[in-house]
Symmetry: C2
Amino acid sequence: MNITEFANLLNLSAGTVSRALNDRAEVSPRTRKLVLEKAEELGFRRNANARRLVTGKNFLIRLECPDTTHVLSDRYLVELARAVEDAVGAHGYDLQLRLGTRRREVAIGDSMPADGLILVSSPDTTAAEVEALTDHGAMPVVVICEVRPLDFPAASYVCLDTIPGVGEAIKKLAELGHKRVGYVGSGRPGSHVRATLPAIFAEAGLVWDDELAIEAGVTQEQGTQAALQLLSHPSPPTAIFTRTDILAAGAIQAVYSLGLNVPADVSVIGHDNIEIASLVNPPLTTVAIDIPQVGAAAANAVLATIEHKAAPSVQNLSTHLIVRKSAAAAR
Amino acid sequence: MNITEFANLLNLSAGTVSRALNDRAEVSPRTRKLVLEKAEELGFRRNANARRLVTGKNFLIRLECPDTTHVLSDRYLVELARAVEDAVGAHGYDLQLRLGTRRREVAIGDSMPADGLILVSSPDTTAAEVEALTDHGAMPVVVICEVRPLDFPAASYVCLDTIPGVGEAIKKLAELGHKRVGYVGSGRPGSHVRATLPAIFAEAGLVWDDELAIEAGVTQEQGTQAALQLLSHPSPPTAIFTRTDILAAGAIQAVYSLGLNVPADVSVIGHDNIEIASLVNPPLTTVAIDIPQVGAAAANAVLATIEHKAAPSVQNLSTHLIVRKSAAAAR
DNA sequence: CTGTTAGCGCTTTCAC
DNA sequence: GTGAAAGCGCTAACAG
């Protein structure tokens, strides 16, 4: 059933029905009500493609995630997609997901069927790439990236800052009375977090000791070994902050293996809030970013550009501390 | 630039260009080549919505995942989506992702803009629900579900069978010479796997001993405790199969804490192949399903129905054993 | 093999 | 406030 047939059933014209369905002002309340009710009753639904053709709008937002994404791990993508979908759905938009590397190869055959783009950047995303993805600036875009925006001012940005959460974690430990705090890194000594840590310690009123920092690696076992080494220090830490939750799980095991307890004897704080964080014993206090918030921010940024022609914006979102049970007052 | 303008540039008619772009037979090779080249050169792209309107096709497959999905965990959704996208992309289709519970509420305003649906079912998905989602059978659908198809014969099914992989795991252990094999479950004594285990043991030539089966729970710590209990049995197992990788990680810790080694003294096999499976020490031998294969199977099933009007099909996909380092010959 | 023509189903002026 | 008519950009049927 098309809109004309439907209109005839109500003794109205297609134009009037269209206006009613689009919530236009010029239609009488009585008519609008009738149309809405009957549409529901008779199960009438507009042909989306005709509507898109004539309006030039697609009611579609594309979420693009290169598979080399390190900004947000796979695990978070679903959460992100859910949030974006919710946010854009509230405005009548659908979500199209593009994951592969299969970038521009669909070249011919289809023009851009999306009104806006949300791009999860990877460390090697370039401005040129973003421009290509947006059909040379024709499509509004928001890029989700680490600290610094790309050199592509036409885009909006949602920047993820890992430092504040780490700051909260260290501050929390300081507040709990810990004086000696160890660090177990994931094996990348040049990382942003690692480089900033001494300053963070200072700000929390703590003394940074290089001997209490180990770049361990990525496995749980490596976390255990690093923690063991830390705890065998002549002046051992009473708290350990690890770069990942997996390392934290390892550190907890190390504490137990020494006949000590978490958090009674040693506090442990992790990073990432992965699934097992809440499953280990004790449940892990950890640093994480609010993914739904990231999704909502990105969605609202594209929508603002699409619907209100808003100027490109830059938002900064920070990690924060999720307090569970693995950190307590120093003995 | 629309197709008529573009055609004029080449001194052709819109019809001819359309035929060339659609790879129709009636167009001369010479013309086709010209059109394709010039389209590339001038950056001409057809208006997707006009095409959709006139053909009645949407070139869109929808992947729908209720957030109550337990059939496939969140972690796998991205992998699944990637596989589906690749498979449908090869046929010129795009992927629309629908995650929320927000089911049919978009009722008015948009008709179904998808040619087919892939539905990841949850334990409580009903036939009526599937019917509603397909616009009363108007849209081809394939349901990804556990062992048994729903009572909705119009759909195709990709059924996931966990048993074969568990069978492989136990058989492997038997082949390695293990006689006593322990089981650590996730606390659901009525589960399909648990119920089938005695038969699987029998088939592998192993004796099932109820005293060697513990329904532990979900945390790593619970895995450790269960394994400890198992290993303190008067006639302890030389291998342990756990229902999840997290439990397996716990079991490995238990073995170490006893001054023993994995796999030299005790073999451990997990289930799920979660991220940490390859990160623990030793890398975990585990049971898993090939998600990309699931995605490809589902995608091909919808596409077959859409493009060749193929009859609904039922495919069974099984878990299998991923051999890493945590299982070895019995001492 | 190619040009011409008639819609696909909707929204949007323009009359009334 | 509503109806009539034009047209969005494309494909497909029909001529030639």
